[in-house]
Symmetry: C2
Subunit: 336 residues, 2 copies
């Protein structure tokens, strides 16, 4: 381990340890000669500052707590990557804790981060209430990603899922589809609810009454997408297109269709949500609604950094957009 302390270099450089500290921090002027002496000694002894001691003394840990949920979801993972990348040029390091979408775990994960005296917090998704957050971490700069609180003044980086759901469904409608099934995500999940609202709104604009027989739930996993399509087919209500909760669900749905001898997009069209990396390489490439996950994480990191240096930062809605590939058939240009 590195046992060299500022006392050592103070001795070697022939100055006091406060001067060493000053040189290292570089915030106040120090006589060039002493400065050089310190720098030389630092290099010679291979001094590495003890960040823990710095933290205790200064009250800042130079650490940003990141609360994730069930890492393993491409969308949330991408956000986390964005946070890491956004923090990377700063001298703050991200420290992670995982809440697994379970309130008790989220709470304890949050407390562990706060106990580590993080200087700021990035919460990715999650289900704890804004009150619970407040109780844990008074005063701490916090940025929430991929979630929105209407009842609080937390800064949130989010995307308009209602609009996304609307756009996706609208695309299907514009392509002439009228019997549009929806595989929506978990019933209590805000994203799923909002996208579903968008779906409903788009249908209604076209004077279509949403058919409950064309609605089935999923848990955002490929496997649930597969089961969902089987369920849909079993119900017997015909449909020409599917709006999937996310791309992963769309993957599963696509496989199920294949297994039932249904071609995409010839027999059934599919549209996903997220636009994850692999989606462009499905056969056919998946039409989907792009969520800028990585950018959202990046924004969050920059936001925290801003708050930390005293600047203000307001909630931000990042725009998503439709990515048209080849999994949706345009029925309006049929050649008879």
């Amino acid at each position: 381990m590195n046992k060299v302390t500022i006392d050592d270099i103070a001795k070697v450089a022939g100055v006091s340890k406060s001067t060493v500290s000053r040189v290292l921090q570089g915030r106040v002027a120090v006589h060039p000669d002493k400065k050089n002496a310190v720098l030389t000694a630092t290099r010679r002894l291979g001094f590495k500052p003890n960040i823990v001691a710095q933290s205790l003394a200064s009250g800042r840990s130079m650490t940003i707590g990141v609360l994730t949920q069930n890492m393993g979801s491409p969308f949330y993972d991408a956000i986390a990557q964005g946070v890491i990348a956004g923090l990377s040029p700063s001298s703050y390091s991200p420290i992670f804790a995982d809440g697994r979408w379970q309130i008790p775990m989220e709470l304890s994960a949050l407390q562990s981060l706060v106990g580590r005296r993080v200087d700021g917090l990035v919460l990715i998704g999650g289900s704890i209430s804004s009150q619970q957050i407040q109780e844990c971490c008074n005063e701490l700069p916090i940025v929430i990603v991929a979630r929105r609180f209407s009842d609080s003044n937390y800064r949130c980086i989010s995307m308009d899922n209602v609009h996304g759901g609307y756009e996706a469904t609208r695309h299907l409608l514009d392509c002439g589809h009228r019997k549009i099934a929806i595989i929506r995500g978990l019933s209590h999940h805000a994203d799923a609810i909002e996208r579903h609202q968008g779906y409903t709104r788009a249908l209604e604009e076209f004077g279509i009454v949403p058919d409950p027989r064309l609605m089935v739930e999923s848990d955002f996993s490929p496997d649930s997408g597969l089961s969902a399509v089987r369920e849909l087919i079993k119900r017997g209500e015909p449909f020409t297109a599917i709006f999937a909760a996310n791309d992963l669900t769309a993957f599963g749905a696509r496989l199920a269709l294949d297994q039932h001898g249904l071609r995409v997009p010839d027999d059934v069209s599919i549209i996903g949500f997220d636009d994850q990396l692999e989606s462009a390489y499905m056969t056919p490439p998946l039409t989907t609604y792009h969520q800028p996950a990585r950018e959202m994480g990046h924004h969050a990191a920059k936001a925290i950094l801003k708050l930390l240096q005293g600047d203000e930062f307001l909630s931000l809605q990042v725009p998503g957009h439709l990515v048209v590939r080849r999994s949706v058939r345009d029925l309006t240009t049929i050649v008879h």
Copy 2:
């Protein structure tokens, strides 16, 4: 913030702060009455220990540094998730730094972790030498994942890539393929090199001389898989199967074949490497060689925990296995 310190509860409980510390640590016996008084005061004042101060005083930060490379690769991400999961039941928290596969960045990321006085280190992939590691972190418990050092005594969690490459190629061979193209990964990447060796060995067992016209490089991305297949087709040397560097590359390759009107597996078979989540949902589902990425991360976490409590732990090779799905055609059962 939480301004309650052990001094406060010492006062309230009517004991010395050493006693408070003892109760909180629970390692030595304390009189039940005082213990209760302390516990009560702790709850009443809402005391949360300052982990930073604990770290400085005890010399242990209860933190494990995790050095990742280019987060965003499904394989490496899965490892990181495994580490988080494996650490989660312990009281150690993972702190991340990203090396981006660039030696200078790796080095500085590593130093930042060491400066934070992490108690242990998990290095995922990376290209710095074992010497450079040693210089940074004498004595620190270290576990390396998805990489192997022959020249050092670091503990490594790895998979036998030569064997994996052999098995994958062997499967193609067993299915009657003889003209087997390989899209190998980055030329200097150990995994790519080893899998390539396995490929070569399998071919030679069948008396086949590897044809350089059937070998093309990639960078493990879908896009490079796509270009690789175009290149292969342009060269004009016929092939009936492709061994892709990893699943992502296989995705790109599969799309390129599709664009050229080549069917999988009817015209060309594909085998990937990794077995990432999405692979089971390709059309056709991708035959691939499974790497237990998440488990490897999990093992690494457990290994560090073991080393930390003084137990020994030796390098570990985890087994992979072939996952046969539908992207490889069996030429030996052709019906004429």
